[in-house]
């Protein structure tokens, strides 16, 4: 792995692997605070060489694992057909929705693969998702115990609570999901002043002064001219992309983009072309083709070319290749839409996101988008950029015109979180959290790799996917971890490719070293007991960028 980052005096950069355990909680040793000043954004003196990013790792599993995965799915699918047959014949009661008797001759509603998968595979292990939680989703939380008498078709709560379960699944990167009264004083005050409901859209009577404050603060935090905040992160993407591009425009979107980006792109009516994940040769090929041949039938030039990427991809934990994309963008005169949902607040020495992580000026990215749900412990999203862009969105975005404005306590929570990270409130709490997150991330990732698990993604990303592959082990992993009082999120098809089911850990700044050690110890034992330590340290096919002859996505 490239260790060029050793020479930069930055936060959370631990020199050697073995030093990490000794550094412990004394994180000021890292020497980031040069002369006690908190280094601000990436402009100013940081326009030094862009930081070399560590390589993403996508290690491939041994062949027998893939074979066994498909075999496992095959067996369960066969039994699925068998059970469907029993239900059709009437030997078994069908718990799922069915068409009415009178509609049996219509086009069938529930026979496609998705419904089959849901009935026969998802239902069997459904108790690992949608677990009811009865405390705030901090570093530890309480889970309500529930049992099922009929194999997960119905649940009942036993009334008991499983307490102090370590939370490895919430997007609580900086630990702002807290109910400490001192920190929430300003939130209470603002609620007293503004109430909770806004009862109007931003364009009508819902533009409160607190919204203006928030937007100015977000713009200052990111280092751009202007920003606009919306009530829902998903809606920020899906409602604003149609306002930015339309028919006659081209969208080049990464293979693994989030559903909100895809939905926004489809709603806009622009032509969408997909390039391989993080693969710059594929993107360049598409750009060249687009500029040479123009629009599909008329061969006129495209009105706009928009490249849509994410800062951190939440299922892989990989970081975007920002410097290369900026170079391509300048060369081919395209626009860049950067979705920093997971990376804002979570990467970068002072938590400013991937632009700071790479040492890039945020004004170079045309549209900076992010959400407040993950690192700021609130709800909503923002779009930031040049003043003309944001002013245009204020009047042309569906979200601004039709969606209710953000609720004041939520806005104040975001304001206080941003002020805390920036250090404006006079404490170093925010910086401590950013450093702690970075330390925790590096620690967890390196220990997991040491233990022999296959972990995807970049070493700096707080999203840690641990590959499980086999469908039986996925269910067992989640249940066994809950028995050991650790709550994890496991993901399978269709959110991931069918052969790559995984458990996804989200590291938080609020996790202490003891909690992480407990998690690691349990993972170690469980990994041995279940046998999910597949790593053999072999580089994977995804990294052979320079040996590929064809950069078409479907090859």
């Amino acid at each position: 792995m490239i260790r060029a980052d050793e020479h930069h005096l930055r936060n959370g950069t631990l020199k050697a692997h073995s030093d990490q355990k000794q550094q412990g909680s004394n994180s000021l040793k890292n020497g980031f605070h040069v002369a006690g000043k908190v280094q601000k954004n990436a402009n100013g003196d940081s326009f030094h060489q862009p930081r070399v990013r560590g390589e993403d790792s996508f290690e491939e599993a041994p062949m027998y694992v893939a074979v066994l995965t498909y075999m496992g799915y095959g067996i369960v699918i066969l039994f699925g057909y068998f059970r469907d047959f029993l239900r059709a014949v009437g030997l078994e009661k069908c718990h799922q929705a069915q068409e009415r008797e009178e509609q049996k001759d219509f086009v069938p509603l529930y026979q496609d693969f998705e419904n089959f998968y849901k009935r026969n595979l998802y239902m069997r292990v459904r108790d690992n998702w949608n677990r009811p939680i009865c405390s705030l989703p901090g570093p530890v939380f309480d889970v309500m115990e529930r049992v099922s008498d009929d194999y997960n078709w119905t649940f009942r709560l036993t009334g008991k609570t499983i307490e102090n379960v370590i939370n490895m699944g919430s997007y609580n990167y900086l630990g702002f999901a807290e109910n400490n009264v001192d920190f929430l004083k300003t939130v209470a005050e603002e609620t007293r002043q503004y109430g909770v409901g806004v009862c109007s859209t931003r364009q009508e009577l819902g533009n409160l002064s607190i919204h203006e404050n928030l937007e100015q603060l977000v713009a200052e935090f990111l280092g751009v001219e202007s920003a606009m905040a919306f009530g829902m992160g998903f809606a920020t993407n899906s409602m604003n992309i149609p306002a930015l591009v339309g028919k006659g425009c081209l969208i080049l979107s990464d293979e693994l983009n989030h559903t909100s980006l895809i939905l926004g792109a489809r709603l806009s009516g622009a032509t969408i072309r997909v390039f391989k994940h993080n693969n710059m040769q594929s993107l360049e090929k598409l750009l060249k083709e687009a500029i040479c041949s123009g629009q599909p039938r008329t061969h006129r030039g495209w009105k706009k070319i928009l490249i849509m990427v994410e800062g951190i991809y939440s299922m892989e934990g990989s970081l975007v290749r920002l410097p290369e994309i900026l170079a391509l963008k300048k060369k081919y005169k395209a626009y860049l839409y950067l979705d920093e949902a997971h990376s804002i607040g979570a990467v970068g020495p002072t938590g400013r996101g991937v632009t700071e992580h790479f040492g890039v000026d945020p004004n170079e990215v045309d549209v900076l988008m992010g959400t407040f749900t993950k690192s700021f412990g609130a709800a909503g999203g923002y779009i930031a950029g040049k003043k003309e862009l944001v002013d245009y969105l204020r009047s042309h975005s569906h979200s601004a015109m039709y969606a209710t404005a953000m609720s004041p306590p939520v806005v104040e929570q975001i304001i206080r979180a941003i002020k805390c990270i920036m250090g404006v409130d006079g404490t170093t709490e925010g910086q401590r959290r950013v450093r702690q997150l970075s330390e925790n991330t590096r620690y967890l990732r390196s220990r997991l790799k040491e233990m022999g698990f296959i972990v995807y993604g970049n070493q700096d990303s707080p999203v840690v996917p641990l590959l499980l592959y086999l469908p039986g082990k996925v269910g067992e992993f989640s249940r066994a971890m809950l028995k050991r009082k650790i709550g994890v999120v496991v993901v399978g098809f269709p959110a991931t490719p069918i052969a790559e089911a995984r458990a996804r850990f989200c590291v938080s700044a609020a996790h202490t070293r003891e909690m992480l050690d407990k998690v690691l110890q349990n993972l170690d034992e469980l990994g041995d007991h279940i046998r999910v330590k597949f790593s053999r340290r072999r580089p994977s096919h995804r990294q052979e960028l320079y040996n590929e002859t064809d950069f078409e996505r479907d090859s």
């Binding site: 066994l68 496992g72 799915y73 369960v76 039994f79 086999l470 039986g472 279940i530 046998r531």
Partner: protein
Amino acid sequence: MALADAWKQLSWFYYQYVLVTALYMLEPWERTIFNSLLITVAAMAVYTGYVFMPQHIMAILHYFEVVQ
């Protein structure tokens, strides 16, 4: 003592088998069906081997002129 260890080890092997073949996700009666089918097929293979293996081996040895 050794029997208890052997039983634990066998039980762990069964657990791994159930996890890997995804029988873990199935209900107990489905596991019974699958295991019975598997054991039936395996038993038939073993029986066929037992009945025909001597003939096959003699034929092979005869072909390679090791035995007349």
